[in-house]
Symmetry: C2
Subunit: 350 residues, 2 copies
């Protein structure tokens, strides 16, 4: 009997507004078998899948983006970690731990051996870390803060969504460089977590009252670097509080991803960038894996990991069938830390 194999498929594209559970379909499909492999392919059993804000763009159906949109009727795909169950590749063997950016949201799937990268197994750390502290969101933090904003000791950095997948690493990279760190997040638990990471000031943006007052209080002398994970009003307030020669890393604008033309936030303070000489850097992390920055990041964070000097919060949801809700929650800020889905399989063959 073939093992159970669950597949999460997209029902329809959602150009704007908020996706719902009805936009996803949880199907039971035949599992791929070793005998079905073409040359240089691998059969992967999924261990962890990553839920990321950039998925919103991939749900939209637009062709005018930096990553292809998901197609209705086909499985969702994204970053993942899994174990090779069968291989016709000379480079990968059964039992290898692999990661890659085109994991299907299925219990098992087949892909070319070139689509995944082998990573160390049996290290005692959870494979989920390859989606977290050493993964894409963490490198995203490095590129935005270190590569683009060139932080200097004594400067003040403001981080929105500071407990999130990217933000928590921004806080730690900034503290390690001697910056004064102001973090914001959407619950008191998250605020406590940000403080535990070393942030000098942290506040709950949902309960702080007027956001301008909160930022002004947290950084009365102004902001040298704003690490923007949310866009919208937060970006506008940051623009108002930038110091001369300030830098903004435009990493993501999750507050706007589900906005419609009617509800989209309209920015009022962009004019400040001229007299304050502010630079704003939009970027996508995938452009930086082939640059020296990637090795520098891995070296720095690996060393910190070994020394126990880095803290990284994963928010684990269990069960592939719960992945759509896990993603929807992310768009509403209900995650606490980097959201991953752990795939359970009661019918493992290996």
């Amino acid at each position: 009997m073939a093992p159970s194999n669950t597949s999460i498929k997209l029902v329809r594209n959602i150009p704007s507004g908020s996706p719902t559970l009805k936009d996803f379909k949880v199907e039971s499909v035949d599992a791929p078998t070793k005998s079905s492999l073409q040359p240089n392919q691998v059969l992967i059993r999924t261990l962890y899948l990553s839920c990321d804000p950039y998925f919103r763009g991939r749900l939209s159906g637009t062709r005018d983006s930096y990553v292809a949109s998901f197609e209705p009727g086909k499985p969702i795909e994204g970053l993942g970690v899994g174990v090779v169950e069968a291989s016709t590749s000379s480079k990968l063997s059964e039992g290898d731990l692999v990661t890659g950016g085109a994991f299907l949201w299925e219990t098992r799937f087949v892909c070319a051996d070139s689509a995944v990268t082998k990573v160390p197994s049996n290290t005692g750390i959870s494979p989920a870390n390859y989606l977290g502290v050493l993964g894409m969101p963490s490198f995203t933090a490095y590129v935005g803060l270190v590569s683009l904003c060139n932080p200097k000791a004594g400067e003040t950095v403001l981080v929105s969504a500071a407990s999130g997948a990217v933000g928590q690493m921004v806080v730690q990279l900034a503290k390690a460089r001697g910056l004064r760190v102001v973090g914001a997040a959407g619950s008191d638990d998250k605020v406590d977590f940000i403080k535990s990471l070393g942030a000098d000031v942290a506040f709950n943006y949902k309960t702080c009252g007027d956001l301008q007052d909160a930022v002004k209080k947290a950084a009365p002398e102004g902001i040298d670097i704003y690490f923007d994970n949310v866009g919208g009003e937060f970006l506008d307030v940051a623009l108002k509080n930038m110091r001369p020669f300030g830098r903004i890393a435009a990493c993501g604008m999750i507050s706007q991803y589900n906005a419609t033309p009617e509800t989209a936030y309209q920015l009022k303070n962009i004019v400040n960038i001229v007299p304050k000489k502010v630079s704003i850097f939009g970027y996508i992390v995938t452009d930086y894996y082939s640059k020296p920055d990637y090795k520098k990041f891995i070296d720095e964070v690996s060393t910190k990991l070994k020394e126990g000097k880095v803290n990284y919060k994963l928010d684990e949801v269990v069960g592939l069938e719960n992945a759509p809700q896990a993603l929807l929650d992310l768009f509403e800020g209900k995650n606490f830390g980097k959201r991953v889905v752990k795939i359970t399989d009661s019918n493992q063959r290996l």
Copy 2:
């Protein structure tokens, strides 16, 4: 009898909205005399004064800016060119041509010798050029385009206010580097002028109909560099049309300088900078005079001037008493080229 001496003074600060002639006072004052000079001072007769968009900030009364606001009851000051009529300085002599950023809007005034710089006289070119093709607006064009946006042959640059003090030099520096240049301005005469400078496409933003359609038609493949002199809707449309890895030089936002909180344009398309990986550089030219960029600029433009390969349009208004109106016109785009005021003095002593 002392020579005539006119002084243009500010009546009141104008925090927002449009200044009017009533906000300025044209006074006849006693001219300074040689005998009143302290050591290391010069008495300057003003030849040309510069009207620049950044004056709007200096009229506002705000202390929170990169240049001090003008003070009610005191003369306006800014960039100018003049001739030394008397000197107690060992560095400057009678007859020297000088330029500087703190020229009073007076027929004659006294300042420290350190506040002005001697420039070549008797070169056959008008002293007004030190406010134009070799002056601050022209260097502003160089910094925004060359130093910050790193233009590459074959790229497309969009320039707003392309016939203005800065824009006309952006067009020429970009063409010299092999870019495709799209220029916009507010009259058909200006559009013809932009084309005469070598722009590949130029359009009248006041009569083009929908601005998005006009930009899309002029640059169907999108924009690599947007040189922003105006802000507001034009910036928003540019943001919508940026190509991947696009750069925006945020040089000035004159469309917004007289805006009130109620009339200020609200930006809708900032979210595009993340997927399109766009960088935006706010800057002020005065930060670049001490960098190698300044010498490179002077070398390049001087050479072009000698070879007759640069064209620069001055918009000359005659008479110090007309300077306030000349400035107000600038805020409404009524200038055509770099606006300067030529000071006439029927009572020259030298």
